[in-house]
Symmetry: none
């Protein structure tokens, strides 16, 4: 492997249980993190059952696509553990018994006061030319075989054994070869904007930095913009800073935060905590989701005194003081009622801000003029100011509710930005 060219890798998980309805191959995430650290490109990953012919075929295909092939699982002592055999056939190598590994197995069993059974010795078989990777956490050792310009690594499938061997053996092996091409990522987040719109706005950044370094990912009610840079640590950090600055320039205040584990409720919570202000919620169609999101964060009692869920018209009047005449004139799902709910909850709970959501989450309750997905969001405060937004949200009940809560949080975030800007002046 030459360090000036990007190394490519394929990850293969072996195990019939990984093809069932309730298991995912999470080992690949650990291996991917190590690959990413060293700038190795993961071209694909796969899961195959405990089937010698299938393993042989997949390992062969993997080497057609990549220089580095990482296989996890199928190294146990039972008859269906056939990863060793499948790999040997794929690479046209014999299996031979490794004396040191045999001895380690004998020692391990002696320590447990047990006799190895005939099939336990299978685990001492290594591919001809391979280096065994001792496994102090289990009976299945790993193996590393350098082939042509690349290498095949075999890891045990037990997650904590694989993680241990990968860190101990794969990481330094790559470090010695990759040489400074590590990749780094930054994720910017935007709420409530369509993916295609964000994509178009980012066009100048694609041209400037290259499309392969900027990925736009849609999630319900939000879009993530993932920036990637490769190279030496200094250059990488500089490049990511340039890219992030350009994206923020193109998207403006729509970027609400950074990081894979960031969330809109966290950003709003931090704004509220920093400004020393409080907010109260009044919800209809979201049924408490907005309050629930605002209280996900530890310490939210500093800025959230409480909220109400008023599902019926009677409760909108009783708990929030929305005039019955207003409800009768405009209907519960209307700009007027959203505004009255926001003002009502702000006043009754003595908060700085009141935020209200009323809408039709469906599947029933829609009409020609107010179809399912119609949502009104209003924010009251600070002082007498009032903001309102009318949305038509796509998707099913769950998605509509989620997006409505995103819309409310996004409105509050913008309002808090305005307030902060005004105060700085």
């Amino acid at each position: 492997m030459v360090s000036s060219k990007a190394v490519r890798a394929v990850i293969l998980a072996v195990g019939s249980e990984l093809l069932a309805t309730d298991r995912l191959d999470s080992n690949s995430l650990h291996l991917t993190a190590i690959l990413e650290r060293h700038g190795v490109e993961l071209v694909r990953k796969g899961v195959v059952g405990d089937d010698e012919t299938a393993i042989e075929r997949e390992v062969r295909r993997a080497f057609e696509d990549a220089e580095l092939v990482l296989v996890g699982g199928g190294l146990g002592p039972t008859a269906d553990d056939v990863t060793r055999e499948g790999c040997a056939r794929a690479l046209g190598r014999e299996l031979r018994e490794d004396a040191a590994t045999r001895e380690a197995i004998a020692r391990r069993f002696a320590a447990m006061g047990r006799e190895p059974s005939a099939n336990n010795w299978k685990q001492a078989q290594v591919l001809d030319g391979a280096t065994p990777l001792p496994n102090p956490r289990g009976t299945a050792p790993g193996q590393r075989l350098e082939v042509g310009g690349g290498a095949l690594f075999l890891f045990p499938g037990v997650p904590y054994e694989l993680a241990f061997l990968a860190e101990r053996d794969l990481d330094p092996w790559l470090a010695a070869r990759a040489g400074g091409v590590a990749r780094e990522r930054r994720t910017l987040r935007v709420a409530l904007r369509p993916e295609s719109e964000v994509d178009q706005q980012l066009e100048p950044a694609y041209v400037e930095f290259g499309r392969e370094w900027i990925t736009v990912l849609a999630a319900p009610g939000e879009v993530r913009i993932r920036l990637t840079a490769a190279g030496a640590a200094d250059a990488r950090a500089r490049r990511l800073a340039e890219m992030a600055a350009r994206v923020r320039e193109l998207l403006g205040e729509a970027v609400y935060g950074e990081g894979e584990d960031q969330s809109l409720e966290r950003v709003v919570g931090e704004q509220l905590a920093a400004s020393g202000r409080t907010i109260a919620t009044a919800e209809s169609c979201t049924g408490g989701l907005l309050a629930e999101r605002l209280t996900r964060l530890p310490g939210s009692s500093r800025y959230f005194p409480g909220g109400v869920v008023t599902y019926s018209n009677a409760e909108k009047t009783r708990l929030l003081g929305v005039p019955a005449a207003l409800l009768a004139a405009h209907g519960a799902v209307s700009e007027e009622v959203a505004r009255a709910m926001a003002e009502g909850v702000r006043e009754r709970l003595g908060a700085d801000f009141g935020v209200a959501i009323t809408g039709i989450a469906g599947p029933d309750g829609g009409s020609e003029s107010k179809p399912v997905g119609t949502v009104h969001v209003a924010v009251a405060g600070p002082g007498a100011s009032l903001g309102h937004r009318h949305l038509r949200l796509p998707g099913d009940r769950e998605r509509i509710r989620w997006q409505a809560s995103q819309a409310a949080l996004e409105m509050v975030r913008r309002r808090l930005l305005e307030v902060a800007a005004r105060e700085r002046r």
Copy 2:
């Protein structure tokens, strides 16, 4: 495809984000469940990036190994969505625009009051000879192309869109072809009981039916008991009925429902709807989660007038009438306050039942006598009756909140069972 021979399938997930360190392809689980239902053998699954050449190569390989190829993802409107193009190349087909799909896209955008951008029209492209699978939940339609003895299915990558299309289009298509080798499952659900306890209680059923047919799976705040039977439809159904009856006999009323998509809030909602009674919620540490769960169901306005989230002591007094003296004497997290909250919300919202949760979700706020995880749940009604439960829940903030909402729903469910039994007498 011949029904007497087992059909083989390959699942391929497309998306560069699925090759990152933080995402797994969970769509394949849903597809696998459908394959299993019809006795289709999943030979392997794979993940590939948004790379036309790689997609072409993987689809070609998939058809070398299987008759049925299921591809998810890469059907979006952006430039990196190239699944259509890769598949067209793999199968040597042209892409053509589907008029009905184009129209559906136009309608969808019109309904949202937006203009489609140029790249949105990409989504109207289908493989020559393919049947478009309309997607009412998003803009990316799926496609089904019958090739040779098999078929290629393209699904959008958004999980709930893929799940919808797979159930609507793949399941019946397989049902028409597979014939008689199916396995069938039934899932029974139990809330708030430790897995080990349920496991022990099920021992006689393991002995009677064989351990491999009964699986106990733990999830936060609940346990699922999965029953499996194989063979002809009649025998399968009979066997599952026998197993389910035995499990219900062993676990009694702890079994709250059946089905993978069953939920405690749905069962409680159905009980309330059937009894014509209403419930109001008062929440502290769960911050609205209980109300949010009760309103996940369409039609919940019949039995849920509303609820309050009283995070601060002042709001507990103001919105629920909890005496300040009671709060001072016992603290907000106490049996006395939980009872007063339940009674207060029941009375103020004029509901048949009031349910209240107060507790310490952490990570801060715990003490020696009231550690993090201390939760009090109370149910008021019908009439003057009051129930209370004191819990010490394990886990982090999110898990504590979830389990507290499970506990409240489970208490309400039991209370409604008692009421229904009394009324039958």
